[in-house]
């Protein structure tokens, strides 16, 4: 066993080279840097945004419009003179986001139930997410103006009635049923909560499997390329230890790499959202608990087992694929089919309702071992424990078979003789 750890130590030293660590740190720093910049921009946009308003009506209604705009996180600069061009030029110069023009006769028109038009000038300087966000906020403010004014008009027209009731005579009281449990909550709230809880799981899994596969294939190819494998295999060390140490070290380094990437990504996401996270109100929280949509300790154990065997299966397959590589360059190529096998369930589980797929497609996806860790989290939330256990069993079986094949390759001369052969096609140009 001591020799196993000696080999693991050597493998880790070979894998954790400056060439591997420096890009990793650079990516994390870039994530942090970009996250901080975006965070600053988001904070800046949370400060009331200056906006020009030309109030040509100077009425009580136009004043209430200005008040609503103020409440919508804008700092209006109100003018009563009709100098549209001049003020627009000033707004552009002062890098303001928009200008509104409330026409003369606005109040009179509203009171006579005639539709009125407020001119909205959006000054666009870029087409980024933050740029379109300002326009969306302004639209929301206009919607709020419509809501307030229509309520006032309805109150005036039909005395003693609640405008809200008149506008929405049908209300919903939503219930969600998961398995046999029912709770008083909207489907949108449940979906939002589940997404916030499970989004990172497939990303973690995808990253770890991809890193681990590349590392183990590179590790074998590098031994071949640097001509160290023959020496290693002639030493009195069990070849099973050599195989196991490579699997263990690649898995360990992949785990570290994925954690570092996730740390960077988390910082990036936190900066983007301003660290708001998912704060559930009491009623929603109770409904989620009633539906059993929170992971229990048992769920976490099963999820961990599924992820663990998924990684092991990927490592063992990459080991076999890596045996075909003659050098580190070709190692990246030989693991490409595995990447596709991982990408298919990753995208399918992220984008589609798996249960709605045709039986043929569903069984094909089930046949891909890496589908099971991706499906484990939603299955656990839906209390489909049998599916999760079957998935773990399938992964364990797949891993054992792949390790037996990998050990057979390493125990024989096939490790030196296996290679991918591509026949060159002969092109002849005839007369």
């Amino acid at each position: 066993m001591k020799k196993f750890f000696i080999l693991v130590k050597k493998e880790i030293r070979e894998l954790l080279t400056p060439q591997m660590l420096i890009p990793l740190l650079v990516v994390v720093l870039i994530f942090n840097f970009v996250g901080k910049i975006i965070g600053k921009e988001v904070k800046k946009s949370q400060v009331p945004q200056p906006i020009e308003i030309i109030d040509l009506d100077r009425s009580a209604v136009s004043q209430s419009v200005i008040e609503i705009i103020k409440k919508s996180n804008f700092a209006p600069n109100v003018t009563i003179e009709n100098k549209k061009e001049e003020i627009l030029a000033q707004a552009r110069q002062k890098k303001e986001k928009a200008m509104l023009v409330i026409p003369a006769g606005f109040e009179k028109g509203i009171k006579n139930f005639e539709p009125q038009k407020i001119e909205v000038y959006n000054i666009m300087r870029n087409f980024s997410v933050t740029g379109s966000r300002d326009a969306a906020i302004l639209n929301a403010a206009i919607a709020a103006i419509n809501e307030v004014l229509s309520n006032q008009l309805i109150s005036q027209a039909i005395l003693g009635k609640d405008p809200g009731q008149l506008k929405r005579p049908v209300l919903t009281n939503e219930f969600v049923m998961v398995g046999e449990k029912t709770a008083n909550i909207s489907a949108a709230a449940v979906s939002g909560f589940i997404a916030s809880q499970t989004t990172f799981i497939p990303i973690i899994l995808f990253l770890i499997i991809v890193f681990a596969s590349q590392m183990i294939a590179t590790s074998i190819a590098s031994e071949k390329e640097n001509k160290t494998l023959e020496t290693l295999l002639s030493t009195p060390v069990s070849r099973k230890f050599i195989v196991a140490s490579k699997l263990f070290a690649a898995g360990f380094v992949a785990l570290i790499t994925a954690v570092v990437y996730l740390f960077g990504m988390r910082n990036y996401m936190t900066s983007m959202t301003g660290g708001s996270g998912t704060n559930l109100d009491g009623a929603t929280k109770n409904a989620i608990i009633e539906l059993g949509l929170q992971f229990s300790t048992y769920d976490y154990v099963l999820l961990g087992l599924s992820l663990f065997f998924g990684i092991l299966a990927a490592l063992a397959i990459s080991f076999i694929l890596g045996s075909f590589a003659q050098d580190t360059k070709s190692a990246q190529g030989v693991v490409a089919p595995l990447m596709i096998l991982i990408l298919v369930p990753y995208l399918l589980t992220m984008l589609l309702d798996f249960s709605s797929l045709s039986p043929l497609v569903r069984n094909l996806v089930y046949a891909i071992p890496f589908s099971h860790p991706f499906l484990a989290a939603p299955s656990l939330l839906l209390n489909q424990y049998q599916n999760v256990w079957l998935g773990i069993g399938y992964l364990a079986f797949f891993f054992i078979v792949a390790v037996i094949i990998a050990s057979k390759i390493f125990s024989t001369e096939r490790i030196f003789t296996l290679r991918l052969k591509f026949k060159k096609s002969n092109f002849k140009i005839g007369k």
Binding site: R13, N226, T228, T231, S234, T235
Partner: protein
């Protein structure tokens, strides 16, 4: 007991017979050299004895242990230096020697002794602490040879041991191999440098296109073929056996 016994050994790759029914043996404490041009089957024979390759047919034994049936026992007795061997570039020379010693023994005293022997043979001074990726080809070869013999194996299998070394280093290595043999180590080596072999080996085997044509001491072979050196012996053997070179 013979250090090595090879009986009708055959190794094929598809239609190619890399080793074609050779027989030879190596006595204890003897330096036996396989000589022949490139592609003669020398390295394939050594790789079979080092348990890297499996013979297609025939038998090979190292101190009575069958390389095919009991490779684990063979690996405990041998040390193998491949022709184009490399070392782990991320490690320093010292770390590499310690790592390899760890693979051979759990006894810390034996480990320390082995590393000291290797340091003496490699003779890299302070550069032993540098990363191997910064070594020249000659320095790496000396380190690898030191690694191959530091555990004082019962049989050292050395494929072109002085390949890539300059004259001074090559002479030094030859002397080391001779001294180790006198201390009780059997050596099976290969080379296409016939002058080197004449100086170094107790007996030689002339191999070409997978077949063994002559075995004997350098003196015996020279006398038999009325030749001045082993190169002339090889040319005479080729002429007798109508081998195209």
């Amino acid at each position: 007991m013979k250090a090595v016994e090879v009986k009708n050994l055959i190794k094929t790759y598809g239609d190619i017979r890399a080793v074609d029914g050779i027989d030879f043996d190596v006595n204890e404490n003897e330096i036996f050299a396989l000589i022949g041009p490139n592609g003669a089957g020398k390295s394939t024979t050594l790789r079979i004895l080092a348990t890297i390759l499996t013979p297609s047919s025939g038998e090979a034994f190292v101190y009575g242990n069958n390389v095919r049936k009991d490779p684990d026992s063979v690996r405990k007795l041998i040390s193998y230096l491949p022709e184009e061997a490399g070392a782990y570039k991320a490690l320093s020379g010292m770390a590499y020697l310690k790592f390899m010693a760890d693979l051979y023994t759990d006894d810390s005293k034996k480990k320390t002794e082995a590393v000291e022997v290797a340091l003496r043979i490699a003779n890299l001074g302070n550069r032993i602490k540098d990363k191997i990726k910064n070594y020249s080809k000659g320095m790496t070869r000396k380190l690898l040879l030191a690694r191959a013999v530091m555990m004082k194996p019962k049989l050292a299998i050395l494929d072109e041991p002085t390949s890539g070394l300059d004259v001074i280093n090559a002479m030094e290595i030859r002397k080391i191999i001779r001294d180790l043999s006198r201390q009780g180590m059997s050596v099976l080596l290969s080379s296409h440098n016939m002058l080197e072999i004449e100086f170094l080996s107790d007996r030689v085997g002339l191999i070409h296109r997978g077949k063994m044509y002559e075995i004997g001491t350098a003196e015996e072979l020279k006398k038999e073929h009325n030749a001045k050196n082993l190169e002339e012996v090889f040319m005479a053997t080729a002429a007798i056996n109508r081998i195209s070179l």
